[in-house]
Symmetry: C2
Subunit: 206 residues, 2 copies
């Protein structure tokens, strides 16, 4: 059915690599997983235009950038949908994916995914990071204001992106509003998410 190889970072701390791993797992697509040691410069060996992880190689076709990869998978393998189908919700999903990849940089720096996947930090959040935290909470509350289990009517890959952002705080012991904490804890139990966590040499946060 498929000839798929996914290149991810060696310590499994890239949320974008995780996103593609979860996408392939949700779609029940078999794939080969190759880890790349970025500190050793092994990304130069990836058959890729831009030498980044994640890279997905599908037969002759090599692709980087997590959101481009997961849209490609959704186009090619529409079964087990990961994005909403109607135009407005699909646009909102793309907005949130892009927003989480480009905004709140200070929060992503002060609460790296080491916190999510390996161990908490004792460094308090700076004033600037606290502003980013309040923006994250405001957007998340608005996206979940309907009271449902997911951002959209069905689970989508955007739920994973938002959950990873919330878990930068939650798994570190930083305060998270109860509804958002309950959402993130529930999302974290999803089997495709647990499949990634089970790759980690040391498992935390599950």
């Amino acid at each position: 059915m498929s000839d798929l190889t996914l290149y991810v970072d060696a310590p499994y701390t890239s949320p974008w690599a995780m996103s593609v791993f979860v996408a392939l797992t949700e779609k029940h697509l078999p794939f080969k997983l190759i880890t790349v040691d970025l500190e050793k410069g092994e990304q130069r060996d990836i058959p890729s235009l831009t030498y980044r992880v994640p890279t997905l190689v599908h037969g002759h076709f090599s692709l980087t950038e997590s959101s481009a990869i997961t849209e490609y998978l959704e186009d090619l393998f529409p079964e087990h949908a990961m994005y909403p189908k109607d135009t407005e919700n699909r646009a909102r999903a793309r907005q949130i994916q892009s927003w989480i990849r480009s905004d709140l940089l200070i929060l992503r720096q002060e609460r790296s995914t080491i916190v999510v996947f390996y161990e908490p930090t004792t460094t308090p959040l700076s004033a600037q990071a606290q502003v980013a935290v309040q923006k994250l909470f405001k957007v998340a509350e608005e996206l979940l204001s309907h009271g449902g289990e997911h951002i959209f009517a069905e689970w989508s890959l955007v739920d994973l992106d938002l959950t990873i952002m919330l878990n930068r705080l939650l798994l570190n012991g930083d305060d998270v509003p109860p509804r958002l904490a309950a959402y993130a804890r529930r999302q974290w139990q999803r089997p495709s998410v647990q499949a990634w966590l089970n790759l980690l040499p040391t498992q935390l946060g599950d």
Copy 2:
């Protein structure tokens, strides 16, 4: 036909705002343009989930993130296509859009779009930025290795993204390989691009 309002930054230096402006112009869609003074915090007044520019408001629907907005426009108004239609090229287009928005940060910092839209800088590129420049050239050469006028068989919005990146150097007087310089100069003459440049109080680089 449409009820479209585009919010852009007041000095017109956001390449992502320019991308949406060019998209609307290419599609011959009438729209209202509103400038937002980010230094005065006017983004708080944008009817938007995340208070960023560009924001597109279409009737009741408000959307941020340039690539989400332009995909939405392509979905709703397919005439005058801005993206390739086949799955692999569409994926490649998404890859490049995302890559240009997330990689080569040091180059985007040392050659800001002030250079592109207003005036050159005399600061030499750091060694780290020069590495980013070489990566940009390598990727651009590979994308244009077919010798054609555009990245894909037809013009796409990705040509604008790549051209803005090259113009951070070219319009500053930094060395750019001849083929890439010729490509960027030709792309810069496109009427939709010139329409943006004509908004600037001081026009440079055309």
